[in-house]
């Protein structure tokens, strides 16, 4: 008999990195790595589970912005070119390491991985990752839900209610466009919640969202079951809280499972370690050294003598870590079930980039976890929507404001490095909202200009820009991106106000920042 459910949520998001007017840029690698190192291995893992008739239900929260990028023809072409170069480098590495059995085995592993990735992407998915996601969803293996449209951090945008409506309503509309049906739940970007946001979610038809542990722990009134059962806001939208016990072992690359010394070292990469002339065609587009994904060593720590990666030992460690995780969750669920009047739900949300990209063995670990859960029979996997359907009697309470960022609140996105941006984001949203009210049925040119202005505003609202401004390596790019989008937004607003829309410039912008093709600025109203 089931003692509870485990809700694993993998959250995938990247900012809009399509640079149509330029040659390939390094930021596009963020997207390419997500496909090669996360989407392909995780979905391949699901194939294996389905083939072996292992029941599982996962939630994939994918930002509409990332969905749009995955569906983009230009980025697909560029990804394929990138993949071809990876295959070429892996073939060179296979030849180069033939004299060293330990390294050659790893080179073969990477070559096989890239061959397989290419076959999956090109032949099985026909270059359409979104269609693949849709197919897995239709087969019941995953439930895809959106994040806010461009992963805007909603509490920091709430000074302009129209901006919240746009982020939430566009998310709902984009999900319907790609998946042909409404999404049950919404992933709040960075788990960032404040009371009142549920009104916008209810209006868009979302039934649930997720919050950080403290969001439930400090909810009003006090939730009877803590984070192990949902609560429902006055709007009718339910909130699920993150289980703290299952977070750190997986999230922490310094103390958790990913820190194991037998796992592949993320930081040692041929892009940094081979002679420059040998790798320069495979590193960053501007020739700077950049990881290629081909790595040979296990985690021996900084300064230590590098040891070759041993795939068998790594696999054994992944299985041992899966045993440990599942045993702990089963004990936890059994203990909770004895003291609850409904089966507990243990919510485990993780950044999808952990699986395969940051933690190479992550998909292997997750596969082992899901197989052990299925074999154990007492703890089943489910989505939050499944839980609400099975247990519709829910305590009424409102979660407390919280995020899953450092210290549980907004500091990573609101500090000396990035606080200047909110003045401009709020002003642009208010100005655009006023224009939408002034021109609720504008002519075609006005409609296009205001819609493109909204596109630019949404792109400026992406939460990553504020976070990336806190890191030296990415600050310049983040500042420029948010500035560019805001300048474009305000210029279009000025042109509409003056009745002087520059159609040629507008057309160019529509081609450059081309997300959400069915967007309509009246979503602000």
């Amino acid at each position: 008999m089931s003692s509870g459910t485990l809700a694993v949520v993998l959250v995938a998001h990247l900012p809009f990195v399509r640079h149509a007017g330029a040659d390939e840029v390094v930021q596009e690698r963020w997207l390419f790595d997500a496909v090669t190192e996360t989407f392909v291995p995780v979905l391949e893992m699901l194939d294996g589970l389905e083939r072996d008739r292992v029941p599982c239900r996962l939630t994939l929260a994918v930002s509409p912005l990332l969905i749009d990028s995955l569906a983009d023809a230009l980025l697909r072409d560029r990804y394929l070119r990138h993949l071809d170069r990876l295959v070429e480098l892996a073939e060179k590495e296979e030849r180069r390491t033939r004299g060293d059995a330990a390294l050659h085995r790893i080179a073969e592993l990477h070559l096989a991985r890239f061959y397989r990735t290419r076959a999956v992407f090109l032949d099985e998915w026909q270059q359409d990752v979104v269609a693949a996601l849709r197919a897995y969803q239709e087969r019941g293996l995953i439930d895809v839900i959106p994040t806010a449209a461009t992963h805007g951090l909603l509490p920091l945008l709430a000074a302009s209610p129209a901006a919240i409506r746009a982020q939430v309503d566009v998310a709902a509309a984009e999900h319907r466009r790609f998946f042909g049906r409404a999404a049950d739940g919404l992933w709040l970007p960075e788990c960032a919640w404040q009371p009142g946001l549920d009104t916008a979610l209810a209006r868009a038809g979302f039934r649930y969202f997720f919050v950080e542990t403290d969001g439930i722990a400090h909810a009003t009134p006090r939730p009877v079951y803590g984070v192990y059962a949902p609560i429902v806001c006055d709007s009718g939208v339910a909130a699920f809280g993150r289980d703290p016990e299952s977070a750190k072992p997986v999230w922490s690359v310094e103390e958790g499972f990913p820190s194991d010394p037998w796992y592949l070292d993320f930081h040692r990469d041929v892009g940094f370690e081979r002679e420059y002339d040998y790798v320069h065609a495979y590193v960053a587009p501007n020739g700077q050294r950049f990881p290629t994904g081909i790595k040979y060593h296990r985690r021996t720590g900084p300064g230590a003598h590098p040891e070759p990666y041993d795939p068998d030992r790594a696999r054994a460690r992944a299985h041992a870590h899966a045993d440990e995780f599942v045993a702990a969750r089963m004990r936890q669920a059994a203990w909770l079930a004895r003291n609850m009047d409904r089966p507990p739900i243990i919510v485990c949300p993780y950044d999808a980039a952990l699986f395969g990209h940051r933690w190479f063995e992550g998909p292997l670990w997750l596969d082992a976890v899901l197989r052990r859960l299925a074999a154990g029979g007492t703890l089943t996997t489910a989505t939050a929507g499944d839980d609400l359907a099975a247990h519709p009697r829910v305590q009424r309470a409102t979660p407390a404001a919280s995020t899953w960022g450092w210290k549980g609140h907004l500091e990573p996105w609101l500090g000396p490095a990035n606080d200047w941006v909110y003045r401009h984001l709020h002003a642009a949203a208010d100005r655009l909202h006023a224009l939408a009210r002034r021109y609720p049925s504008g002519d075609e040119r006005t409609r296009r200009a205001l819609t493109q202005a909204l596109r630019e505003l949404l792109l400026a609202q992406t939460s990553d820009w504020a976070a990336l401004m806190t890191r030296d390596a990415t600050a310049d790019y983040a500042v420029r991106r948010v500035t560019e989008h805001l300048v474009r937004c305000t210029r279009l607003c000025s042109e509409v106000e003056q009745g002087a829309v520059d159609e040629q410039a507008l057309g160019t912008l529509e081609g450059v920042d081309d997300v959400f093709p069915t967007l309509d600025y009246r979503v602000l109203l």
């Binding site: 990247l14 640079h19 040659d23 390094v26 790595d33 049906r181 409404a182 049950d184 404040q194 009371p195 209810a202 209006r203 868009a204 038809g205 722990a217 400090h218 009003t220 009134p221 006090r222 079951y225 006055d234 709007s235 939208v237 339910a238 922490s252 690359v253 993320f266 501007n286 020739g287 700077q288 050294r289 950049f290 203990w335 003291n339 609850m340 009047d341 940051r358 519709p392 009697r393 829910v394 009424r396 404001a401 919280s402 450092w406 549980g408 500091e411 941006v421 909110y422 003045r423 401009h424 990553d464 976070a467 990415t474 310049d476 790019y477 500042v479 948010v482 805001l486 300048v487 305000t490």
Partner: protein, 265 residues
């Protein structure tokens, strides 16, 4: 199992990380009734919030770093590609320095820290100065933070306490430390005379800082989600057939039952 038993057993066992005994409503009221400026000393512009007890990096930071890899600069690097061109940190200078609107906006960064930004136009300052008359000459521009916790009106004028932060310049921002988590605050930007007269140029909406403790309110009410219509892309509404009032209103109490009807074990 009675609801009391659920609370005692469920809360104590399910969430022992949450602790057990917490302040009650009276203690909350007393805490907010104290003059908060005198308790911890409200910070001025740029005042640092209380030192955090949290680790220096969040668990998510390493994954975030791994997602947003950037090239390593070195002697072998070729010329920068267009999108790697260095940009000065003041790159946002392309944005307006001011918007020509009197405004103050308050954001609750964490339980004990607010962030405020403001703009006071020349016209707004002139009007405020005119209202102050001769005293305006020596008036100081201040950001006034009102503690409006438990105050029903949106205006901060009848808030329990207020503290002023001296500011300079028509456009600015600052962090303000507040002593009590779970409070509600409102800001005004305005002029204050030596005698204490204050005329506002602009006011903010009220914002609430998150609580740091579990709620004192332990009332338990249940809702049956089957009484909610909508979903699948339609707005959620409590069913008109559900018990209680507010039929059709998402904020109504339909579908709620004060007495739990818990399934058997």
């Amino acid at each position: 199992m009675s609801i009391g038993a659920v609370i005692v057993a469920g809360w104590g066992l399910v969430g022992d990380w949450l602790g057990s005994a917490w302040c009650d409503v009276v203690r909350e009221l007393r805490r907010h009734a104290e003059p908060f400026a005198g308790r911890l000393g409200l910070g001025g512009a740029g005042a640092a919030p209380p030192a955090p007890a949290a680790p220096a990096r969040g668990l998510d930071q390493d994954v975030r770093d791994a997602k947003f890899l950037m090239p390593r600069r070195g002697p072998a690097a070729a010329a920068s590609a267009p999108d790697d061109a260095p940009l000065a940190r003041d790159g946002h200078a392309a944005l307006p320095a001011a918007y020509g609107t009197d405004r103050v906006t308050l954001l609750a960064r964490d339980p004990r820290c607010l962030f405020a930004y403001w703009e006071a136009t020349a016209e707004g300052r002139r009007k405020a100065a005119a209202a102050l008359g001769a005293e305006a000459r020596a008036a100081q521009e201040v950001l006034r933070i009102h503690d409006v916790t438990f105050v029903a009106t949106a205006s901060g004028a009848n808030g329990r306490h207020a503290v002023d932060v001296d500011v300079a310049g028509p456009v600015g921002s600052c962090y303000v430390a507040v002593p009590a988590a779970g409070g509600t605050y409102r800001a005004e930007i305005g002029l204050r005379t030596a005698s204490g007269r204050f005329v506002a140029i602009a006011g903010s909406e009220a914002v609430a800082t998150p609580p740091e403790q579990p709620a004192a309110d332990t009332a338990v009410r249940w809702a049956d989600l089957r009484t909610i219509d909508g979903g699948a892309g339609e707005p959620l509404r409590w069913s008109a057939g559900a018990t209680g009032d507010g039929a059709g209103s998402p904020a109504g109490s339909n579908g709620a039952t004060d007495q739990p009807s818990l399934p058997g074990r």
